[in-house]
Amino acid sequence: MTIPFEKHRIPTSDIGVSGSLTTSSASLLSVRDLSVEYRGERTTKAVKNVNFELRKGEILGIAGESGCGKSTLAYAITNMLKHPAYITSGEVLYAQGDSGNTVDILRLEHEQLRNFRWTEISMVFQSAMNALNPVTSLKKQFSDIFLAHKPGMTKAERLEKSIRLLEMVGLNKNIINQFPHELSGGMRQRVVIAMALCYMPNIVIMDEPTTALDVVIQRDILDEIIRLQKELNFSIIFITHDISLLLEISDRLLIMYAGEIAEQARTEAIVSRALHPYTNGIMLSIPDLYGQRRELRGIPGMPPDLSLDIPGCPFRPRCSEAFEPCSTWPPPKIFVANEPDHFVRCHKYGSSDFMGGA
């Protein structure tokens, strides 16, 4: 198949509106044409030509099911992928603080990368159980971070800063001498968040930070994250499969399916007017507690095997609205008029690049 992947064109007059493809001054991170594949017996294309932008002080939600490439994307952004994963194309441009310089994170080498991570971008991993070292105390683990990144600090300074961080995330300083297994899941997750904020990074990537937690604890952690984000004004990339949670906290949403961004929009637009059949399907499959009972519909089938070549739209086998071009042509990226940042990758909305107003 020789169809170029993105056959859309962008009229220059509209570039200013479609923020996803331009570098506005507020943009902090811009991911361009990023593709990742896992090489093996069969090559798995986990992330395909992903473009998006992260702005200062916003919460960007990335939603998708397991195996859709959302975690791979997070790892790729921070240049953490190792064999057998390879970044085959793209760049991740980071606008560095005051200087206004942009660096391509993917081109940073050892020492630079080491300095860059944690101070500029940090990450909160899914399972706080595994992210902490079970055999050393929290004090030691905090010290390790400071020793690695700022070797000049004295022991007293390190202790003081660790305690300040713990208090910042709402924990008692007395737990500093405890071991991870002595803490509850929620406390551990708070510790991991505190560690991610050691150097007040501009971007925190959170990969399913609340997935293993109880609903009530999850709510506590979310409140904490939002509070810290308001106070410290960092940007968050929040990755989860739980779209109902993202609808509440994020400013913008990327819906990923089979390694591609199926739809990107402001959160309100997804709630009021989700366009992609997959987005609609997910929205209809969440049981809610509020409002009238509505009919729930799941999405039949399962996500495609990314190691196979998928002609046409990857969602086609599960889509109730699929029609003839879906099986042969990759869906075009269609921007929604009058709604900046909203695009959808679906044949349903025609082959032109812009659909009419609401």
């Binding site: 099911e65 397991s66 709402g170 509850s184 899941g185 929620g186 109880d214 609903v215 009530v216 604890i217 999850q218 709510r219 506590d220 979310l222 409140d223 939002i226 509070r227 308001k230 499969h241 739980d242 779209i243 109902s244 949670l245 609808l247 509440e248 906290i249 959160t267 309100e268 709630v271 399907g281 997910i282 929205m283 499959s285 969440i286 049981p287 809610d288 507690l289 509020y290 409002g291 009238q292 009972r293 729930l296 519909r297 799941g298 999405i299 039949p300 399962m302 996500p303």
Partner: protein
Amino acid sequence: MSDLSFPTDTNQQMSPNTQLGYSALSYQGDFVSAASSRGRLVLEAKNLTKVYKLGFPSKDYISAVRNANIALYEKSVVALVGESGSGKSTIASLLAGQIPKTSGEIVLNGNSVNVKSNRKFRAYKSEVQMVFQDPFASLNSIHKVRHHLKRPISIHQPHLKKSAVEKEIYSLLHQVRLLPADQFIDKFPYELSGGQRQRVAIARSLAARPKVLLADEPVSMLDVSIRLEVLSLIDDLRDRFNLAVLYVTHDIASARYFADETVVIYGGDIVERGPSEDVTQNPAHPYTQLLVSAAPNPDDLGGSIRNAKLTAGTTKPRQTESALTSGIGCRFTPRCPFADRKCEEQFPPLVTISENRQVACWHIEQSLPNVSFKKISPKSQSTAEITLQGAHSAFGSEHTGSNHISHNVSDQFDTDGHSKTSQPAVPERDSEDGTVA
């Protein structure tokens, strides 16, 4: 085991009528499970209690489940909702006969069950089957789907010939919609997706032709888009196989859609039970209110938590182990906004507040300030009066638009079971929320 002196609840009376000092605001008829209308009673737990002894050097006990009464009816789903450590999985394991109970009784088809011998255990298992949370761990990765289904069939239906067993395997795969069955029968678990594995696990539990299915968080490891499929499969199977289903979950929203009765458990005690729609739309116990308010709300545009005043400590810290071992008082006390001395000192009994709702709280008047319960004599049950006006969640104003709750109370109380028996004498009007009448 039962002669050990546990610090359990000999002073706790399950009957509210004997409690002095309780402002008898209750409906005084018998409690009827919301699930009972579906069919015959199959499995019942009476005062089921499980006490774990803490290891050396501690001499303490933890009562993981205290005096739980749960009834499972044919074709019905009872949801058991609670946080981790609340004892919900312990109840499922007790009912499955996996762990020995400390006291109480399990009644299957009218017969008290004691699964001490292997033979009895196996006979019990052919009636009561369990589906586990993690389909990645519950299937043996070195065996094919065929093996997973063949074993239970040959154990529970030993008379079947080889060809009949094969036929049964295919029929099971059909039942759980793993189609075409030919394609799935010789697959290894690693070749299947999470949803498909859970279907195999469900098929395996159906192989024993059980009457009761205990599903312990069957969908929490699955993707959102797959969850509904598996839930509706279980929903469908209970009709086809006349199954009584216990659905253990931490997701109270799915209980709303999936279960007939929702039982909320906290710290090993049942704190609230009732028809799922009632419990989720009009939670009475402060803990249920906390659960409901903590659940993500997709309709909450832009997020009230983002725009809400940021107040710390709305949810108090989780209970410590010592509270679990002390055994007196309400276990929710440390986190409860209404807690007072009484809550610390006396255990709140489960009080029947309407035909099929029970709540264990000393402060129902405060947690449901706008509910007026009229004391009635047992003889005139038919005039039980329940007037509900936009119930206020203790936590509602922080996280959820309280208008959500109040709005829905009126919706749901028009159609629920009470309206048959309740004739509010003075229908109170509320200009904003509409009338409940």
